[in-house]
Subunit: 463 residues, 2 copies
Amino acid sequence: MLSTLRCMAKTYIKNMKPSLAKGTRDFTASEVQKRRSIISVLQKNFELFGYQPLETPSFENLSTLTGKYGEEGDRLIFKILNSGDFASKVNQGDWDEKASQKLVSQISEKALRYDLTVPFARYIAMNHGQLTFPFKRYQIQPVWRADRPQRGRFREFYQCDADVVGSESLWLEVDLIQLYAKCFADLRLDVEIHVNNRKILTGLAQYAGIEEQLIDFTVALDKLDKIGEEGVRKEMMEKGISAQAIDKVAFLFDSKLSQEEVLTVLKSNFSQIEIGKQGVEELLFVLEECGKLGLSDKVVFNITLARGLDYYTGAIFEIKALGVAMGSVGGGGRYNNLTEVFGVKNMPGIGISFGLDRIYLVLEELGLFDELEGAKVQYLVANYGLLEASKAQILISQLRTKGISCELYPENAKLKKQFTYAEKKGIETILFYGEQEINDQTITLKNIVSGEQKTLTLEQFLG
Amino acid sequence: MLSTLRCMAKTYIKNMKPSLAKGTRDFTASEVQKRRSIISVLQKNFELFGYQPLETPSFENLSTLTGKYGEEGDRLIFKILNSGDFASKVNQGDWDEKASQKLVSQISEKALRYDLTVPFARYIAMNHGQLTFPFKRYQIQPVWRADRPQRGRFREFYQCDADVVGSESLWLEVDLIQLYAKCFADLRLDVEIHVNNRKILTGLAQYAGIEEQLIDFTVALDKLDKIGEEGVRKEMMEKGISAQAIDKVAFLFDSKLSQEEVLTVLKSNFSQIEIGKQGVEELLFVLEECGKLGLSDKVVFNITLARGLDYYTGAIFEIKALGVAMGSVGGGGRYNNLTEVFGVKNMPGIGISFGLDRIYLVLEELGLFDELEGAKVQYLVANYGLLEASKAQILISQLRTKGISCELYPENAKLKKQFTYAEKKGIETILFYGEQEINDQTITLKNIVSGEQKTLTLEQFLG
């Protein structure tokens, strides 16, 4: 509040119909509470696993963000216009040409956070001297992207990340898989945790003699589920990968091979390929240790999984929700150098991310929110007029001290109107504390859903 | 994480030293936890009082925000530069003149939230047909202002507001005062809730015959604490208020008058002044009802209190923290028309705000955070190597299922290094689960603060 609408009356614009900015949303009480219930599960488990919270500012220096997300990413960063006379400091030539691209960094020196990773890297680079490594942090904050809005894609959305930097221990892979499993179990959402390893993909490309085409190879392979063997072969060949090379890895298309059989083929193919061998070993360690923790049925080796491959260097994760048509609800992996771009080397790490909006949609679709909800107001106290309301205030104050949410209907309106208010607000029980009750030291409770009504002594009621 | 640093390696800029954007802050784990402890007290009590959460987007259409905060406010709104070729759609004349002011709305159609009130008004205006009134909402979100940063003033900070719209009932004044009292009691912060009424100030100006100078009069009066009677008189006279008029209200300067005596003088002065009389009646109602609720010693009638006067129309609140040198830690009041500027009339309401950053500083200064903290990791499990770590994982998983936070040191490093990690992270107890313990089905706990060490059977330990 803080005295801010003071100028509203003065600048009254008749019938101005306000709207939301494109790609943004208001969250109503029940939406906030549902979102919070998810966030609180994540937060609780992050802390249970020894991750500690970090919050970074909503905007960063533009130079911190540009060049980190590729050309397309740079375009999608929301830039903040410099305050004051921004036009005074521009290059006149660029201005005359109206060269928007070149002018951006001249009239804008700040930009909205595009993800949580770059700000985290910036934080580590600025503070690495004071931090204790391995550094385990989690971060749950909104990010902004100037994407074209579409169903399920917004310009403001939350990311929920957990990362450890400063260690190459494979126990962290095991830790993060457990963290995924525990969070989704607590959300009562059935998921598969798909796991792959960048080193295996690199090894495969070496084995097929197409190291130079690693990205094209994996991007096409990643689509196997969607476009089938034929589609993948076609795309690979269009990218210039020879039929001969593809045939060398044709076992990838054989859906009849079990996880174990694929690994056996890989081991034999990688007999001379060091990086591939290492990838298989890492993968096996992770699968085995997860098995000991009872997670075998959750963790699936998925050799087609690539995700941002040019970033990940070891393990790659992706979470598939079962029983609903929805892409991944989370993903992550191991990387070598979080902070090199900011001049700080040797900062390997691993991180995972939860897709809050998608988890929300899945829980909604599966009807899993009922039990998570709550936070409704428990009692509405009917307003019978000044004297009764004044007495009721004391009762209300006692209830709140006990942690019971309640409110007085603020006006001495017709009971019907007060009932309607309760009904619309989802308050199930109305308390009557009128002259009679006050004299008798009793209170009448009416459940407006069941219609049930009873009168208790105040002593009984307040327990 | 979500595959975002993929381009970092490519765009590696040597030794680029990153920094925070001016006026922004990173919040470390302990800061986040302290801030959260305050927010959680507010949130819990807001809901206890029947207020329900609302979240609005970080940015709004620029047109929604401009003209609502005065000229100075408009300047301080952070505008977001349009994406793409923003320069292509501008008025050529304005461009040639480099008329920054005129160009703003041509190259920027979105802006960051400046406060929570205007977005709330926008929300009400857009949805009033579907809402149940009186509508009680609370909102705890960051806002952004392009202010010159200085000690304690940031460009990104949180506001915490609770408002009711759609009712003129004075019970809401009583409700919000109780809410203030309960929140600060739960925060264990000793405060005074200063209360005034705009109608009393208007009445006073009428009584002194200076209605036209109401704002100058109250702005000067508001400074009585700081600049004393002489200062206030001087400022009033500089603003053209006659000495004669000032003399008529000279009783305001008499610090010896009790609250009751001031009210007696007001009542007699207002015998012919309807609005003043009404203000006194409203105030007395609020004071009396708060008295019945045991809040007499918290609620103080402060006739010099003005706050954003041209916005408030009835009650005015301000919270003073006792025992520390700090301005107000909260404020609010009653207003007539929240949404008129958006074409929706008759939306009276009342709201209060909590100053999160200032509350934080006060709690810190008074050392009141100790008990609120917590959320530290409880156990570090020492890493003795592959076999032991693999067994330890199962133990860790059992502890976490019990809600006990713990982590394995991810590498088989020297114990000294593992101890240092625990110490720096504030983990007090290290668990040893080595070969001996595994064979004996025991576990050794070492408190690194007290040095105390004990061995328990696993059964005893896991209870």
